[in-house]
């Protein structure tokens, strides 16, 4: 019975993230607009945009290759895979042993790499610029992510996501320990950098010199662009969901029972929505950092992650 609901939970996770992520982006834009004194587009606007883009004709920018054409699919597939294996709604997913936290991070990096290659493949100055910057940021985020994972997994004795979530559920006091708090801040900074939000990258910029993510996807149009946009919305949701469930997993379904799953969906939506809200509010008050100041920010978050590991050893 647990197996069946576990599998159901895994399917439901993918569905909730796939359907819900454009709404999350819409809600975040709405919050920003309201705070800036604008009416802003409707929450469902990203979905309408996606539908519109999907109906358009597929274009091949001159001189691009299969790498450029397959990248949106790789991006979507890697994100959906993460959405399926990580514990967002249930810890009883039969897919849990397939991939641990390291593998999840590596899968998300794979999507970034595909996008960077597509940017280079166009042969334009913008594509190369975006790819170069994105790779620099990725290379520097990686240590923070992995050391923060290290800090989280030390008290649990495993890097498997299900194990970490379960152990936090059984020992709620751990969440307010220095290890958890330091790791949470470090991970939050790393996630902001990975998802290309302010102050590392401005998702709504089209000013050529400041673009990072937008510069890589500049040549995408029509259905391909729809996939890229959808995937980046899903990546944002996945990252926020990971942050939420690693540090506040309550509400997640642990056993069998459909009621638990339904509750988990609601709680997950609330948690991710809250984090999105926080991020959107923060973005209103933050300006984008100069590109070469970003390493300092990341070094700071790396230091926090290292402190978290030290705390996990010396305070244990």
């Amino acid at each position: 019975m647990t197996g069946v609901t576990g599998a159901l939970g895994a399917v439901l996770q993918v569905a909730v993230i796939a359907v819900g992520s454009p709404y999350l982006v819409g809600a975040m834009r709405q919050v920003r607009a309201r705070l800036e004194g604008r009416a802003g587009p409707d929450v469902a606007q990203p979905w309408r945009d996606l539908r519109k883009l999907l109906r358009k004709e597929s274009l091949t920018p001159h001189g691009t290759s299969e790498v450029f054409r397959l990248t949106p699919a790789v991006l979507v597939a890697s994100t959906v895979l993460v959405a399926a294996v990580a514990p967002f709604l249930t810890t009883a997913s039969p897919l849990d042993p397939v991939a641990d936290l390291f593998a999840v991070v590596a899968l998300l990096t794979l999507g970034t790499v595909a996008l960077a290659l597509a940017g280079i493949d166009t042969g334009t100055a913008f594509g190369g610029m975006g790819a170069s910057r994105e790779m620099t940021i990725t290379a520097l985020v990686e240590p923070t992510l992995l050391v923060a994972i290290f800090a989280l997994s030390v008290p649990v004795g495993s890097t498997n996501l299900g194990a970490i979530v379960n152990s936090t559920l059984h020992d709620p006091a751990r969440v307010v320990s220095p290890v958890s708090l330091l790791a949470a801040v470090a991970l939050a900074v790393a996630i902001i950098a990975e998802t290309g939000r302010l102050p590392v990258d401005n998702p709504s910029t089209h000013l050529e010199l400041t673009m990072v993510h937008e510069a890589m996807v500049l040549e995408y149009a029509g259905p391909d662009l729809a996939l890229v946009e959808w995937a980046s919305a899903m990546r944002l949701t996945v990252f926020l969901g990971l942050l939420a469930n690693l540090f506040a997993p309550w509400g997640i379904a642990t056993g069998s029972g459909l009621a638990g799953l339904v509750l988990a969906v609601i709680v997950f939506a609330v948690k991710v929505g809250l984090l999105g809200l926080l991020l959107a509010v923060g973005e209103v008050f933050l300006a984008k950092l100069r590109l070469f100041r970003v390493p300092e920010l990341l070094a700071g978050s790396f230091l926090l992650a290292l402190l978290a590991v030290a705390a996990s050893f010396f305070l244990a």
Binding site: A73, L81, I120
Partner: protein
């Protein structure tokens, strides 16, 4: 360099054999157990220096990125994939097997050497724009990762955590195999590119995907493996390495508590920089548009070269999908190195599970799921287009080919290949970030017009990222040796009288010494 390494190994082993009854492994093993700590440490250090230079570890790496690129590519492949591994073999054989483990500081030393090699190697690889030099530095990086694993295994073994030591050693040995597979493939592909274009400089390459599709595809397989991402084989071994480091924290001692997080950070930084490096190598080298006429005229290599690369790629894919097939062999090797090891460290065919720790990964399922996912998304897009035709909004068949569109050029006319990002410009942000470590040299020459110095005729800009260790350590050493050689030459003027004088004074001096001491 090589001679120095050999001398160090020979000194170490001679010292060892002098204390043993014969030079067989069995008698050495027996003697190793009875040696005094000081002698054991001397032997280990001498052997470590020698074998580390063989493995291309920093600071004894200087020969590697010079020698490997100059050899013909298949020989480079042999050197980078097979030869350097002997260095690791030597360290494991002498340190674990013959000397039977040792104090913790030996292995901490190995770990630190590995960590420095990994980061330094990949940083230099990220900066260079010479494809084969990049691969050479990447060898230093990967052997550094292996040495981290070996060092961690030694640290765990000396603390009595033998299960963990087995895991770390298995990870290190698996990485040796994986590195051999993908480095062979990468060097052979680089050879194929060299054959077709005569170029090793990434700044002149590009656009090879249309002209050399097979080489491009196979290089992509190798680059994916080398950047340690899922679907590549090195991902599995780096995952095992990280697992062994993560579980190593509870092993007693403040030294481990400081080393393990630092080692994880080093592995992570190395992985991140490796991703950037191989995106550069593949993206700039093979995608986009040709940056030189040689790259424009490239044609696919002959079948024999393609078959060679194909075999290496097959090995990569097999290792990536079913790493379990080499696990029994690795377990035996690890068991031979450390007799205290019990059962194999990794179990399971489809899903790898760690023995004794909670941790699992299924490379096969991840690969399958990703491929199915990509196929499903592509098919889904197709389907969406077909459905549209049924609704009758498009009367003719849903576009068999996608329409060609112009690239965004800011409305300033067609883009030329000169406007593309090159390997140097791609690495520029990273170079700025690691400015203090790399110390790049910049040279700007401005030539003014004769009429006025306010009018500029031409600007020449040169930038080089020299190997800092080579410059700071080896050049002074070489200068020192040279100075002594020069001084020595003054003794030998060619005059026979002088030589006879030397002989006379030497004999007389010896006699005086003997007369005084006896």
């Amino acid at each position: 360099m090589t001679h120095f390494g050999v001398v160090a190994i020979v000194i170490g082993l001679m010292l060892f054999i002098a204390h043993a009854s014969s030079d067989t492994f069995a008698s050495l093993r027996q003697a190793g157990a009875e040696l005094s700590p000081a002698v054991r440490s001397t032997i280990f250090l001498a052997v470590l220096v020698g074998f580390a230079s063989k493995a291309g570890a920093v600071p004894l790496h200087a020969w590697l990125p010079r020698a490997h690129p100059e050899a013909p590519s298949q020989v480079s492949a042999l050197m980078s994939a097979a030869m350097v591994n002997l260095g690791v073999y030597g360290i494991v054989r002498v340190g674990f097997d013959l000397l039977g483990g040792g104090p913790r500081w030996w292995w901490l030393l190995v770990l630190v050497v590995g960590a420095v090699s990994a980061v330094y190697g990949i940083l230099q690889a990220a900066m260079t724009s010479d494809l084969k030099r990049l691969l050479g530095y990447s060898t230093t990086e990967n052997l550094g990762l292996v040495l981290i694993g070996v060092g961690a295994a030694g640290v765990f073994a000396s603390a009595g955590a033998h299960v963990l030591a087995g895991l770390a050693l298995t990870a290190a040995l698996l990485h040796v195999i994986n590195h051999a597979a993908f480095k062979t493939l990468l060097f052979l592909s680089a050879g194929s590119v060299l054959h077709a274009t005569g170029l090793r400089d990434l700044d002149g390459l590009g656009g090879l995907r249309a002209r050399m599709p097979v080489t491009t595809g196979l290089f992509a397989v190798g680059a994916l493996a080398a950047s340690a991402l899922p679907l590549g084989n090195a991902f599995v071994s780096e995952w095992l390495l990280l697992q062994s480091l993560v579980h190593g924290l509870p092993v007693s001692g403040v030294a481990t508590a400081i080393t393990m997080p630092a080692a994880v950070a080093v592995v992570a930084l190395t992985a991140g920089l490796a991703v950037a490096t191989f995106v550069k190598a593949f993206g700039i080298g093979f995608l986009a548009r040709p940056r030189s006429s040689a790259a424009e005229r490239a044609t696919e290599s002959p079948v024999s070269m393609r078959v060679g690369m194909g075999l290496a790629a097959l090995a990569c894919v097999a290792l990536a999908v079913v790493p379990a097939m080499v696990m029994p062999g690795l377990a035996r090797a690890a068991g031979a190195a450390d007799s205290m090891l019990g059962e194999p460290a990794v179990r399971g065919a489809v899903t790898l599970r760690l023995a004794g720790f909670a941790g699992s990964l299924s490379p096969l399922l991840v690969t399958a799921a990703l491929l199915v996912g990509v196929a499903a998304v592509v098919a889904g897009l197709r389907l969406a287009t077909v459905r549209r035709t049924r609704h009758g909004r498009l009367t003719h068949r849903a576009r068999p080919t996608r329409r060609d569109a112009r690239l965004w050029d800011c409305g300033a006319g067609p883009l030329t290949a000169r406007m593309e990002y090159t390997a140097t410009s791609f690495a520029e942000p990273l170079q700025r970030v690691f400015d203090d470590v790399l110390e790049p040299e910049q040279d700007v020459d401005v030539t003014h017009l004769q009429e006025s110095r306010y009018l500029v005729d031409s600007i020449e800009y040169r930038r080089r990222v020299p190997d800092r260790i080579e410059r700071r350590l080896y050049q002074p050493l070489l200068a020192f040796a040279r100075a002594w050689g020069q001084a020595g030459r003054q003794l030998a003027t060619g005059s026979v009288h002088r030589y006879l004088g030397y002989g006379f004074y030497a004999v007389a001096g010896l006699l005086v010494v003997l007369a005084v001491t006896r």
